[in-house]
Amino acid sequence: MTTVLHKQEQVTLDTFLRGIWEENPVFVMLLGMCPVLAVTNSTLNAIAMGLATLFVLVASGTLVSLLRKMIPREVRIATYIIIIATFVTMVDYTIQAISLDLYNSLGAFIQLIVVNCVILGRAEAYASRQRVGAAVVNALGMGVGFTLALLCLGTVRELLGAGTILGYPIFSPNFEPWVVMILPPGGFFVLGGWLLLFEWIKQRRERRTLQAQGATAHGS
């Protein structure tokens, strides 16, 4: 078996930060959308889902990276899936043990972490090529990025849809919740809204830089 040589990445702060901003799995790469939309109707669910995904990302990344020299190319995807499914099953039972209510409100989406493209994608594109250290840091970054994105959605949806954050009322008791936000359309709208906001900021910044360049060109 030949191992294709990949450039081994130095572990830097960027290895971690990349997953949070530049390559944010949700807002930039649009991966793993189903859990993002499905479980973010409350902040608690969002956190739980994020942590569960984070755990599976890190654990499977570690294992894949450790075993990367031993896994034949032909069966690598199958191997990754089995590894991921294992950790997901572990998380699944752990959450059941922690709280049945939480488990019920997350529904099948904990088990569906298996097919979350973020995890398989990381295993295939990064962990299988990098040393354990880099793989873990990268997975951590991605997991935190994913969790943060879930939080972005979860807080907005819970705040508007129920007037609470983590179950604690934020507004005056008479606040009229916008029920649509915790219903399916609300998930799409809030994620779409975040993307619109980011795009708007991006375009504005580009315009500003262009203008700035134009101004300096004039000045010189």
Binding site: S172, F175, E176, V179, V180, M181, L183, P185
Partner: protein, 351 residues
């Protein structure tokens, strides 16, 4: 000769145009809606007036805002946004809190129109997008109906109308009980028919003395206003015709089998928002198909879906959702009903 003294214009053929433009059509639709608005103000008083004003102003302001944000010319003057505002107001319950109505107007334009590029590019009826949004956001407020012809309605608004923004409206039942109107249950004719199997009389439906949203009441008036537009060629009469056909053909078999449970086709057509929906909302050309066969299919689907939702769905009224579904079906309908071009060879003759 004087002829050369002035520059002559060069245009391409055709050099004449039918003397009717988009702004003109839109203005006439507004005219056609005014009698309906007037009737609803007469019926529900100050609250209805404030509601219509709020939705219209909210829509117009949102349109200006989004035009400004995207650096485009302000398009309020083409009047289409006024139609959106008025229709939105007409579909809401008369006592709907004004702040929610403003949210509806903002969503109608933002989510339903500006997002896609404005007039002509929206995929769904903006007014109904606005209404569907608040229906999902504030399900309680939007199903709270108040009685018509309340004494003193011109001097005093329904309490829920003036709710503080972002707050829960006061319970309407207290106010209604205080009025002590005989037999008012807060149920629309459709709800009565669905849950109690009591059909309102045709005359009541035609003249509209019953509870319901500001615009869903007098079927006759709405019909006449729509007729005006159709006769002036500013609305495609085939769409309402197809909606009515679809409604009748779908509801008739049920009615014939068990008239004690299922309502008659004429009740179906005259009750709820069907008349307003068919005449003014399904007929919005932007969201309806282009092809002749497509137009019939579209109208028929709306009639069919309306009856299905009314008879077998959870909601009492299905017109809004039927039209929205019709709107999203439009691209598919269009693509399967392209007309046969003159002289086109038949399939088997193709090489």
């Amino acid at each position: 000769m004087a002829l050369t003294s002035k520059p002559i214009e060069i245009r391409t053929s055709p050099h004449i145009r039918k003397a009717i433009s988009v702004a003109q059509i839109m203005r006439n639709v507004v005219y056609a809606l005014l009698p309906i608005c007037a009737w609803s103000v007469y019926k529900f008083g100050l609250s209805a007036l404030l509601l219509l004003l709020t939705t219209t102003v909210a829509c117009a302001l949102s349109e200006s805002l989004f035009c400004w944000l995207s650096g485009r010319n302000n398009t309020v003057r083409d009047f289409s946004v006024i139609i959106t505002g008025l229709l939105l107001g007409l579909t809401l319950p008369p006592g709907f809190p004004l702040w929610m109505a403003a949210v509806a107007g903002f969503m109608a334009i933002g989510l339903g129109k500006a997002l896609f590029g404005g007039l002509g590019y929206n995929v769904m009826n903006p007014a109904l997008v606005g209404r569907a949004f608040v229906q999902a956001a504030f399900p309680v407020a939007i199903t709270t109906w108040t009685p018509a012809f309340v004494p003193g309605r011109f001097s005093e608004a329904i309490p829920s109308t003036l709710t503080t923004p972002f707050m829960t409206p006061p319970d309407a039942t207290v106010w209604i009980q205080a009025l002590a109107i005989d037999g008012f249950t807060g149920a629309t004719p459709l709800a009565l028919q669905k849950f109690e199997h009591i059909s309102a009389s045709t005359i009541d439906l035609l003249t509209g003395v019953l509870a319901g949203s500001a615009g869903e009441s007098s079927a006759l008036l709405v019909f006449l206003c729509g007729l005006y537009l159709a006769l002036r060629g500013m609305m495609d009469w085939r769409i309402p015709a197809a909606v009515f056909t679809g409604t009748i053909l779908t509801s008739l078999p049920f009615y014939l089998v068990s008239p004690e449970i299922y309502p008659s086709p004429q009740f179906m057509i005259l009750s709820g928002g069907l008349m307003l929906g068919a005449m003014f909302m399904a007929s919005d050309m932007v969201g309806s198909p282009l092809t002749p066969r497509g137009i019939w299919l579209y109208g028929f689907s709306i009639g069919f879906l309306t009856v299905m939702i009314r008879l077998f769905g959870g909601l009492t009224e299905g017109v809004m959702y039927a039209i929205l579904i019709g709107n999203v079906l439009t691209p598919l309908i269009d693509s399967v009903t392209q007309p046969r071009v003159y002289g086109a060879r038949r399939q088997e003759e193709r090489p």
